[in-house]
């Protein structure tokens, strides 16, 4: 099994991890209920998409 030959410094690990970044989720305002929703998605709060109710929240298909 492969094993590390040398110890690596904390700085080395930390430098690598500086690229571990999280990005903010892009949300848009729902035209119907004005709450936040994902773009190009049915609104999870009111179930509207493109001006009409597609899917009532909590309803199983």
């Amino acid at each position: 099994m492969a094993l590390p030959k040398r110890r690596h410094s904390r700085a080395r690990g930390r430098k690598r991890r500086t690229n571990w970044k999280i990005t903010t989720v892009n949300v848009v305002e729902c035209a119907h209920c004005h709450q936040a929703r994902l773009p190009h998605h049915i609104c999870p709060q009111c179930g509207y998409y493109d001006g009409r109710e597609v899917f009532a929240p909590g309803q199983e298909s």
Partner: protein, 138 residues
Amino acid sequence: MGHFDKVKKLGRTKSHREAMLGNMAMSLFQHRMIKTTDAKAKALRPLVDRIISTAKKDTLAAKRQVAKTVKNKEVFKKLFNEIVPQFADRTSGFSRVIKLGVRRGDGAPLSVVELLTEKPKKVDDKKDKKKKKAASGK
């Protein structure tokens, strides 16, 4: 990405995939709208559109072709008697996929597939059910 893949394999064997997509198509004809993962929804859409295109020909050969996938007799009847007439003024694009969000647990992106038919008015049904429930509760 696999944009050039003619068949999305969905991690299944051919027989498994075809059986699953056939069942999903039947569910869609039955319920007008179904909720699945985004990948399955996208794989289902061309199949559904092809079935409806074939069904619109309304010949015996077309019916037999459709029956290969739509194996349930009730759904088969519904397809020809209720769904196809509603697409008289349409030549393509009979179904639509809308994204729904991600599933809790595995984070799979979910979507809704729907037929572009008239939404049956269920408002009265719900009211009736509520009344019935209220009546039985008392």
